[in-house]
Symmetry: C2
Subunit: 400 residues, 2 copies
């Protein structure tokens, strides 16, 4: 079976160990290394409160070459003041020491509970352990994926393979994310490796575009976290002539990268805390692109819509209500709404539709809710998931 983990791209070594942040004994420290140095790019949360590792990572990703990514789970190192910042720096220093690299070429991310200081000695000891276990096979990649999980119940991994001018290229990725997911962000923590040779500028451009139509379009509970980070590293080990312009080779790469990110997004939506199904909201006929985006998000975020989806109830009144409530331009008498292919509301009036059939559509994961605002020509979309009693249980019981 082909390697479907983060190590599927040539030039990357990975490890995942238990260092002691998680009391459960599960893997909680992930290390990825690119011994030859990788071209890197990243996107981050736009939350105004950012965790210490985000501040550090923003700086380090500017390095021309990046040699490693280190991620701990179980503790977000967010809202931890100067002590948290010192810990994040100490982690980068430790990784750099183990790998003989410059600390500025080490990327860092954390995920887990907010407001607690990291047990830094445990983490640095874990880094020594992880550095010894760095390998390039399936097992190592799988351990890496497990070590970044928090409330995720499943590993999220995606790989695409394609050829560029006769050279085999791979894009491999892993992500964690189950709650605190809102659009307009880099989303949760995503690490992508590729062996393509490409300039930093184009890599950054491709990442931003891919995330914009995938990870950034997912809302689970409408808020982006303090730690959202998506990193991509390109080792160049595929041996292709470097991609230096937005040529067809670039577009092929960008398309595959978008597919990888879309794949991860689907996996995240389906593993969202308590979720049983995901859906897509498409808004048409908006006066502006921003209105379309806002309305799609408002519908996908609305608890009453999420509950209706959970109950497989074609309660389109809540959909229309959410669109009307979010402040976008719309003409009530020109509005329409479809659940899958079934028109439930047309030109401001309810239609007669088969409620059982509509309920069946909603009970399927991946169904689409389409709203036409009747106000213009712009369209946008958003991915959402249902709200279940389990979401409440998970988040009322997840104690600090």
């Amino acid at each position: 079976m082909a390697n479907n983990t983060i190590t599927a791209a040539k030039g990357f070594w990975a490890a995942g160990v238990h260092c002691g942040v998680k009391k459960s004994g599960k893997l909680d420290l992930a290390l990825l290394a690119c011994p030859t140095g990788a071209t890197a790019a990243a996107v981050f949360t736009t939350n105004k409160i950012v965790a210490a590792p985000v501040t550090i990572c923003k700086k380090h990703v500017k390095s021309s070459k990046v040699y490693a990514v280190v991620i701990n789970s179980g503790n977000a190192n967010a809202c931890t003041g100067s002590a948290g910042m010192k810990n994040a720096i100490a982690i980068c220093n430790k990784v750099a020491g183990e790998l003989n690299a410059n600390p500025h070429s080490v990327l860092i991310a954390s995920t887990g509970i907010i407001g607690k200081q990291l047990p830094i000695r445990k983490v640095t000891a874990g880094i020594t352990k992880a550095a010894k276990q760095l390998r390039n096979g399936q097992r190592a990649g799988s351990d890496f994926a497990k070590a970044i999980m928090t409330t995720d119940t499943k590993c999220k991994q995606a790989v695409r393979r394609f050829e560029i001018s006769g050279k085999k290229v791979a894009i491999a990725a892993t992500a964690k994310g189950a709650g605190m997911i809102g659009p307009n962000m880099a989303t949760t923590i995503t690490v992508i490796t590729t062996d393509i040779a490409i300039t930093k500028l184009l890599l950054a451009h491709a990442l931003k575009a891919a995330v914009g139509v995938s990870l950034n379009k997912l809302t689970v509970d409408g808020h982006q976290s303090t730690n959202d980070t998506a990193v991509i590293m390109a080792s160049g080990a595929a041996g292709n002539r470097p991609v230096t312009s937005p040529c067809p080779r670039y577009r092929k790469f960008a398309k595959a990268l978008t597919e990888v990110c879309a794949d991860l997004t689907r996996q995240m939506a389906l593993d969202a805390e308590g979720a049983t199904r995901m859906f897509t909201v498409v808004v048409k006929g908006a006066a502006t692109k921003a209105d379309a985006c806002k309305a799609a998000r408002a519908v996908a975020d609305y608890n009453l819509v999420k509950c209706a989806v959970h109950g497989a109830d074609p309660n389109w009144g809540r959909i229309i209500c959410a669109a009307g409530s979010c402040g976008v331009k719309l003409y009530p008498d020109k509005m329409s709404c479809k659940i899958g292919d079934i028109t439930v509301f047309r030109n401001g009036r309810p239609t007669k539709f088969d409620a059982k059939k509509a309920s069946k559509v909603i009970s399927r994961t991946g169904h689409t809710i389409t709203i036409d605002l009747g106000a213009g020509k712009y369209t946008d979309f958003c991915f959402g998931c249902d709200l279940s009693a389990d979401y409440v249980k998970i988040n009322a019981d997840y104690h600090t």
Copy 2:
């Protein structure tokens, strides 16, 4: 026992009957009459999709004298196109006929499911029945309150009595509302009666101010409905010299009205769908009043905060995260957060606090979460409630 219903103010007669909109057989049609004619004012939803009765009521409330309010529950008459508009007009006409009044002097509201046509014959037959049962006692007021309920489990009523220049004045109110409640609106359906003599302008002014710091500050699920309406009617039966300027007599009235609205708000928060406790979010140190309002709402609306409150968990990281995510100006290093009187976060750093004590504070209804953004001098607040598994059950099972 003193009458604590909507008929506590002199000059009003009420009734509540079952006309057949609700299949359960519960009361579903409420009628309030002021035979001498009342000065009236109202505030409405700012949702861009408004129900037919809202459109009609906005017009009719401009009449110099209002003689009745008619409300049906079980059907919102929203998103019902021109047929819905015809039905709303037919209802006003029917009430006017029964009471020998001008249809334009009849106010109207509906609440319940969106997108279904009203069984208009049942409603008009119910109006005849209700008109015959109009009385001014406690029982009639109580029937009125019951007849406007939907998923409410309790009647919401509030009365204040005071004197103005030696004349006894009463303000009496009833409201319904348990879900689809978001700030910046008139909120759900509220009917207030008073026997004070006051000008229409001052009555409208007092209502807007009172609702602004009470009903409009409550968020249950962040969205205002298509039908939110708050109506006040002043019969003048107290016999006071009419209040015509913002004098001390006006201020006494305005204060009592605010108390009545605050009382209803508390009752609504505590009866919110699935809620077990309510809380207040206070935002201090905001750069603008709008920022303070936005941040308070973002925190009160955030599902992860609502779940933490449900679990009595002092998970302040989610509070800070919500404030950071909503786009307001803030200085992370100057931010603080308190749960009750317990400081959990100070100048961007976690404090050592007694988690058990903080959990106890959260488990009390009416506790306050205070966030200082460290960005200015503005303050605002918002009322919220917890999110429970029951909210999901109620809203996943409430089938169309």
